[in-house]
């Protein structure tokens, strides 16, 4: 091993991951130098606004566009070169994240030339979609780790959005709306559990049927019940942001993360509970055993059916909270098909996040962020066709999944019903 030639070391001896990261960064850097640095007129500068509100005195700063883009490009290439020469894959993703952040900064510098870009607003806009997406993805993690595929996230979203809007309107209390959303999500989860665990129906088909069922049902009740009673049944109060004392004063992070509605804090809570619960507790070990090898789990006395029921129902409740975020957490009023397929994207985020809660959150955030970025860029009137900008979130997801995540492995017994012999 000591005689490994240098070229082999660079081109793959230290693994495909190292090579991919290096190539990605060098290409991104060259692109930055070639397009972003050369694409701005000399003397143009880009402003970066870091204040959440004009009242908060955090200085905004301006940088010379061309020079900044050039330096960012060089930094990207250098990072790529560094990774190529390193003899280890450790922290390769950290280097990649750093390089992509620099690339993103260069991109914003180019896009915001002669204008001002507000970072804080882009970040807090990202959370609008990140919250329901990550809750949906957590629901997926809960179900699939125990071996049940949950395609019904979209349906759970819709049903929960509907019930939370109705209950919150009727009682004028957003908290009851939130609870109603979770409960109705859990009920849809129970239906999924009954059909897939007890009756061993095909999990994918049942999930799709539940989604179609939820769309038809909520659209029907919206029209027949909500529309005639708009004022009493579909005008829910929405949650106001809750500022956490002290923490909300932290520059940049504070206004984005600690001056938000209860849903952001709930998402964080579920994330921590899941991450610890799945990997640090007895329950988590059992869940993973059931998802990987139910027969073995059964042999050592774990009740497979009970674990699966519990997870699918709790997962439904988590997705239900995500559904409530659409109405009482965001825009209030329920409108038919308002979830617009985000449940399926949540499912993709879970896969992209490798069935890990933290990974799922990162994937959901990537999607939410690129979507927010897309809107910010279209408002800045950058010279990119708007159709292409709209592709950005999906493109980022495809690049990330296909190029960087590599092969992912679902729980071995995912999607397979279990029957005792």
């Amino acid at each position: 091993m000591a005689t490994t030639p240098v070229t082999a070391r660079v081109w793959g001896m230290y693994g495909a991951r190292s090579r991919n990261v290096a190539v990605t960064l060098v290409l991104a850097g060259l692109f930055t130098i070639g397009v972003f640095a050369r694409g701005v007129p000399t003397g143009a500068s880009t402003g970066f606004d870091l204040s959440a509100a004009p009242a908060v005195p955090i200085p905004s700063f301006a940088v010379p566009s061309a020079l900044t883009a050039l330096l960012c490009g060089i930094a990207c290439v250098a990072l790529g070169g560094l990774q190529a020469l390193r003899r280890t894959e450790r922290h390769a993703y950290g280097i990649l994240a750093l390089g992509l952040a620099i690339f993103g900064f260069a991109f914003l510098t180019w896009a915001g030339q002669s204008r001002s870009v507000n970072f804080i607003d882009i970040l807090s806009t990202s959370l609008i979609e990140t919250v329901p997406l990550s809750l949906g993805a957590f629901s997926g993690v809960l179900c699939e780790r125990s071996g049940v595929i949950n395609i019904a996230i979209e349906g759970q979203f819709l049903v929960a959005a509907f019930t939370s809007a109705v209950i919150a309107s009727a009682t004028q209390d957003p908290w009851l709306g939130l609870v109603a959303g979770a409960v109705s999500g859990a009920l849809v989860g129970a239906l999924l559990a009954l059909l897939t665990i007890t009756y061993a129906a095909d999990q994918i088909i049942v999930g799709v049927v539940i989604d179609a069922f939820a769309l038809g049902l909520t659209s029907f009740f919206d029209l027949s019940v909500l529309v005639p009673n708009q004022a009493t049944l579909n005008s829910p109060p929405v949650f106001r942001p809750i500022a956490i004392p002290l923490l909300d004063k932290i520059p940049i992070v504070g206004p984005v993360l600690f001056d938000e509605t209860i849903f952001v804090y709930l998402t964080a809570g579920v994330l921590i509970a899941l991450q610890i619960g799945l990997f640090r507790t007895r329950w988590g070990l059992r869940v993973r055993a059931v998802g990987e090898h139910p027969r073995a789990a059964d042999t050592v006395g774990i009740n497979v059916t009970r674990i699966r029921y519990l997870n699918v129902i709790v997962g439904g409740a988590v997705a239900g909270i995500g559904g409530a975020a659409f109405t009482v957490g965001g825009t209030g009023q329920f409108t038919p098909n308002m979830t617009a397929g985000l449940g399926y994207i949540a499912l993709a985020a879970m896969i992209f996040g490798r069935w890990q809660p933290l990974g799922a959150l990162a994937a959901a955030f990537l999607f939410g962020f690129t979507d927010a970025l897309q809107f910010a860029l279209s408002v800045l009137n950058v010279p990119i066709p708007s159709d292409f900008l709209t592709m950005l979130p999906y493109l980022a997801t495809i690049v990330a999944v296909a190029g960087l995540v590599g092969q992912v492995r679902p729980p071995a017994a995912d999607g397979q019903p279990y029957a005792r012999e």
């Binding site: 806009t125 609008i128 029209l223 009023q333 409108t335 098909n337 927010a372 009137n381």
Partner: protein, 366 residues
């Protein structure tokens, strides 16, 4: 296995019942009066776009038109909702088999399929909202609206009311029936700048490059909220969403912004229908609404089809015939300076007389 079968059958049955309930909701005629005797056998049908019958926008307006026609003549009315674009053809075919006297198809996106069905079935009368054909078909009446005219007034008003010197707009999709509003809006702002030596900017739509901010969605309110936050972040203080129920997300974002009390107050202009009627909870945010009279024209089309005076071709709603108009100012009636109101009246007359162009490229940008 037996239990599985029973369960599946049950679920299927429930699903079928729900589907049956969700789709055709027919309103039985209340045929009052003797003049309705002939009309009461007449069936007028609507195929909605994916926005659904209750989008508080054009689908709802078209349905309102049929309801008005029902009240006036006692005809029967029915609609089918399209949950995706692939529902268009089956929905139209279902209505053809029901022998609808007229099928109203709603929206630009249904232009192609309506043409195909109309050619295949030349005796079937159609009215299509928002789509014109290069060669008009004898059995299709295109209901078209010069919404750039009232959007021009909306743009002028927005420019006059903006404190930050920036106004924002976004569309549901980059298609002509949406961008005609945005073009008119931008033209109105540019006209304001020219007349008043001002420099009000339009964010979210560049009429010269035909590029701008689009949600590519007419149902996802979260996207409306996101894009509106982006517009406000760049300083826009009047937002004009052209995206059906996605606009409700914009209203939520504006309301949140105004409640937080940071920065300038932001207001909106609603689209298609009078916002104070279709989304009354946000009425205090709406300076005005840029409306098009879909209901009136759909009603006329249905009534004409019922009494045998239907003719294919194009109908144009304009400021002159009241087919498009700026809604009342409601909460802002006292806040809009009378000089601006009289300017709006003058411009309206100018557009009707053809003296003022609504083409944004005719005015200097910026």
């Amino acid at each position: 296995m037996k239990r599985l079968m029973r369960m599946s059958a049950l679920l299927l049955a429930v699903g079928l019942v729900a589907a049956a309930c969700a789709k055709p909701s027919s309103s039985s005629s209340s045929g009052s009066g003797s003049s309705a005797s002939k009309a009461s056998n007449f069936l007028a049908c609507e195929v909605t776009d994916t926005g659904g019958i209750d989008d508080r926008s054009f689908n709802a307006s078209a349905w309102k038109g049929l309801q008005d026609a029902q009240k006036a003549t006692g005809m029967k009315i029915q609609y089918l909702q399209s949950n995706s674009q692939s529902d268009y053809v089956p929905n139209i075919q279902a209505f053809e088999q029901k022998h609808c006297g007229i099928i109203v198809t709603v929206g630009f996106l249904m232009g192609g399929v309506t043409e195909k069905q109309a050619k295949a079935n030349p005796k079937q009368k159609f009215a299509i909202v928002d789509y014109s054909y290069k060669k008009p078909l004898p059995n299709v009446l295109s209901l078209l609206y010069k919404t750039d005219q009232d959007a021009f007034l909306g743009g002028y008003l927005a420019a006059a009311m903006s404190k930050t010197g920036k106004v924002g707009t976004f569309g549901g999709m980059n298609i002509p029936t949406v961008t005609i509003y945005m073009d008119g809006f931008a033209a109105g702002v540019r006209y304001y700048n020219q007349q008043n030596h001002a420099h009000v900017q339009v964010l979210g739509w560049d009429p010269d490059k035909k590029q701008g901010s689009f949600t590519n969605d007419f149902t996802n309110q979260a996207k409306g909220k996101s894009v509106t936050q982006s517009l406000m972040s760049q300083g826009a203080d009047i937002i004009f969403p052209v995206a059906g129920s996605v606009g409700l997300g914009a209203a939520a974002a504006v309301q949140e912004h105004d409640r937080s009390g940071s920065g300038n107050p932001v207001y909106m202009e609603w689209v298609d229908t009078d916002g104070c009627i279709s989304a009354p909870q946000y009425c205090n945010l709406f300076i005005t609404s840029v409306t098009k009279g879909i209901a009136t024209s759909v009603k006329q089309a249905a009534v004409k089809a019922a009494n045998g005076t239907f003719k294919g071709g194009n109908y144009f709603g304009t400021l002159a015939n009241g087919g498009v108009s700026l809604s009342p100012f409601h909460h802002f009636a006292d806040k809009i300076p009378s000089s601006v109101k009289s300017a709006l009246n003058r411009i309206k007359q100018g557009i009707i007389d053809g003296k003022i162009s609504t083409d944004p490229t005719k005015y200097p940008a910026g």
